[in-house]
Subunit: 327 residues, 2 copies
């Protein structure tokens, strides 16, 4: 056994998104040594997708010294089952939307290294633990605020997968019960995601514009075209209505976190995703609502942090962290 | 080292309640070999309380063959901090209500065996895992329905203590937000406990009697005297209003469990405490509300079970399980 085989200084991270599949070869400090990408769609079968991935990977694997330098591969993917290494019924993946694809095994067979897979929010949580602001923490929750609201929960230093591999769906706790709850993409009503995702924020904007006559920069737009980015830009310009949208969103997130603390009492909540670029506009109402609603014995204990990972490479780093976690 | 020292076949369990402190010496199968009890109150200091405990323990320790046969001691107690082995600011314990008592260390110093302590709901969860219906399970939640609503959460085969030792306060997630939430003993409003504890059930009865004119056996009582036991007895006689109280209570518990599943996706919920004696009266609405509210990917996965531990000895068994868990 030569030194390189013993050390194996790199893992491959794959951020498998609905549009792009981004690869990075990453060292233990989180430096991305080489990167490449392909389109995720356009393949009829999982085999064809893996073929294209392997073809794209070969040059960057050679670039870092060959497959002997690779310890493992980690994948962050929608509808990923960590226990089975499968992608299950992923609606946005044409080669996996009506079937169960054993993707970890397929990559492992082709590359000859161990491969583990989890969903993107869990990968983000591992990324924070290995490279980011959660280094040294054993109990924390990452909340991803993007198109949806995702979560990765770490307890006792381990990612919480639950009995079936799908634990940590905190975007789908019920925040508004009964008939007035907003419909959610999961088929139910009143979920946190229906209010605090990017689409939820845009919906809050449309509701506030429709039910009030208050002035706002957002009135210059076609209501149907408003996105969370527009709300962010308007708030940045001092728009009061836009700020109120952030207050509403942050308040609901803070109240939800107060309930999450009753569950796992984390030392930190770490927010991740496009919406956290709003900074204090969203973080301040989160903290205030949390302090007002958390059980007294927990008050003042949890930190509220923004992800320490660089946005552009965060998902690949998170995926690579899944690889480092393989024993 | 003789054989007895090597084997140490017993642990001491202490169920430390506000009124009584019940001791049992328990073997690994959950057989209680000897038992005794003292009153918990009436002591000015923790030292005096421990003195009385040791005096009561001596005869039953001798009865099973002496301290050499004892592997460890486990304590289930209110406001217990597992990490520190302390009881902190327990309002119902005169010798601990304004201070932090290092009770585990005090017992360990006196007995010469390792001592661990956790709250009663966590002890119940360990009891189910070691002796009860959760044997072999790695992810489950015990919900105790008594004067309050407590919980013990097991993930990856470990009790969830969180960053501070106080995780698993599921009686204090918010079920009714805003001004209409009932006040809770924790100082906030709308908590699960305010509706689904024994006192919550009695309150639901008084509210229904006051806001309707429907006939009920419960109308024969002074409303202030109604307890959850009276509701149970009336429901057992077919009283429709009493059954509706159970439906309301079970529905709220089922909706709460649907949220808990989004967190840790347990394979089972195990209900414990006086209220579960109502059997299907409470379990059926729990299951129905859960099925109606849980996220589709989790549907049909979790079992809803009633504690497998004998009610009279369950708390002592749970406490002893804390002792068995010491590595």
């Amino acid at each position: 056994m030569n030194v390189q085989q013993t050390l194996k200084p790199y893992v491959i991270g794959l951020d498998l998104g609905g549009t792009n599949s981004v690869f990075g070869i990453v060292d233990s400090r989180g430096d991305i040594k080489a990167t490449t990408a392909i389109k995720t769609g356009g393949f009829q079968t999982a085999e064809a997708y893996v073929d294209a991935c392997i073809e794209a990977l070969q040059p960057i694997i050679e670039q870092v010294g060959g497959i002997e330098t690779i310890k493992a591969m980690g994948i962050g993917a929608p509808n990923a089952n960590y226990y089975k290494g499968t992608i299950e019924m992923a609606p946005n993946l044409p080669w996996a939307h009506k079937t169960i694809v054993p993707l970890a095994q397929m990559f492992s067979d082709r590359l000859g290294v161990p491969v583990a897979m989890t969903n993107d929010a869990n990968a983000a949580a591992l990324g924070e633990m290995v490279y980011g602001v959660a280094r040294g923490m054993k109990n924390f929750i990452v909340i991803t605020l993007g198109t949806g609201v995702g979560s990765g929960i770490v307890v006792n230093g381990q990612l919480l997968y639950g009995s079936d591999g799908f634990a940590g769906e905190l975007g789908h706790v019920t925040m508004v019960r009964g008939a007035e709850g907003r419909t959610c993409g999961c088929g139910r009503t009143g979920c946190l995601e229906a209010y605090c995702s990017a689409t939820g924020v845009a919906r809050t904007a449309r509701e506030l514009l429709a039910t009030t006559t208050r002035p706002s920069l957002l009135r210059e737009m076609n209501p149907e075209d408003i996105t969370s980015l527009d709300v962010s830009i308007a708030a940045g310009k001092g728009d009061e209505l836009a700020k109120e949208i952030y207050d509403f969103t942050g308040k609901m997130l803070g109240e939800a976190c107060a309930d999450f603390t009753a569950f796992s009492s984390p030392e930190a909540y770490i927010f991740f995703g496009g919406m956290v670029k709003a900074g204090e506009l969203i973080m301040k109402p989160i903290r205030e609502a949390y302090d007002a609603h958390v059980m007294p014995i927990f008050r003042g204990k949890a930190q509220f942090l923004i992800s320490g990972l660089d946005g552009a490479s965060a998902a690949v780093l998170g995926a690579s962290a899944v690889g480092w976690e393989i024993q």
